[in-house]
Amino acid sequence: MPVFYGTEIASPLMLGTAQYPSPAVLAEAFHRSGAGVVTVSLRREAAGGDGQGFWDLIRGLGIPVLPNTAGCHSAHEAVTTAHMAREIFGTDWIKLEVIGHADTLQPDPFELVEAARILCADGFKVFPYTTEDGILGGRLLDAGCEVLMPWGAPIGTGLGLNNVYGLRTLRAQFPEVPMVIDAGLGLPSQAAQAMELGFDAVLLNTAVAKAGDPAAMAEGFARALEAGRLARSADPMEPRDMAAPSTPVLGLAVLE
């Protein structure tokens, strides 16, 4: 199973907590899938708000918590949010999101590297939401990140792995670095493909939460991830352009 900053997680499924029909459905999705990590965020709280109730639900899942900096558009915003998350969630893990464009939700690579540098120097264990760009990946590793989380496709699109070549190249460029496909997945088959490409885990939310039956979809993702992991470890055959019969030609009857 994947190891992030020395911690082995029980499943390659990292699951978000937003957009579920109810807290009960959320909990069922986590229990049925056996997700290995739960992602959360911080938002403004009114006096008497239910932040504590949500936190009790999350703690009850009994799996590592990965707070995010979703919605931040600058390194300063992300760093401040990370500090607030560290205090409130009691973890130095942080999913670092620094968004560069409101429509694509594409990471801002310049602000992302700056925030990663500051946070890693301050003892955070940074999980950067990034693209498949290998130069950017290298800069994030130089900044102190020990995990990379390239997007499959823009957040919430469900388009799957948009740039398989780029992701395969990134995987090959840093073979020892744990990598998570973060965002853009819509179907379990896409998660299986990520694992077949050699990625260590996937992080998703909308594909499960917005499914008609979130718990069933979460279980579907968990099974697909296991299938993909097994396929990767089984050393798949090389694809070829021309057909090659699998049934022996030797001994074929002559019936013309």
Binding site: G16, T17, A18, Q19, Y20, L26, T39, V40, S41, L42, R43, R44, E45, A46, A47, G48, G49, G51, Q52, F54, W55, I58, P67, N68, A70, H76, E77, T80, H83, M84, A85, E87, I88, F89, I155, A183, L203, L204, N205, T206
Partner: protein
């Protein structure tokens, strides 16, 4: 004095952050605070003086992806 609490103008009598949280009804709520875009840890709230026009953000655990 008037401060900006989570984006809304708010009048408070307190002059430090810890007292302000009590006055505003947060009590022992699980929240994190920032004043003027700078994180203020729980342990530093009592020593953190507030001034007219300060921007106070109070955040709590929420759903996220």
């Amino acid at each position: 004095m008037k401060i900006i609490l989570n984006g809304a103008p708010t009048d408070i009598a307190a002059t430090d952050l810890a007292t302000a949280l009590d006055e505003l009804g947060y009590g022992q709520a699980r929240v994190a605070t920032a004043v003027n875009e700078t994180f203020v840890p729980t342990a530093a709230r009592a020593q953190h003086a507030l001034a007219e026009g300060d921007r106070l953000e109070i955040l709590a655990p929420r759903q996220g992806g």
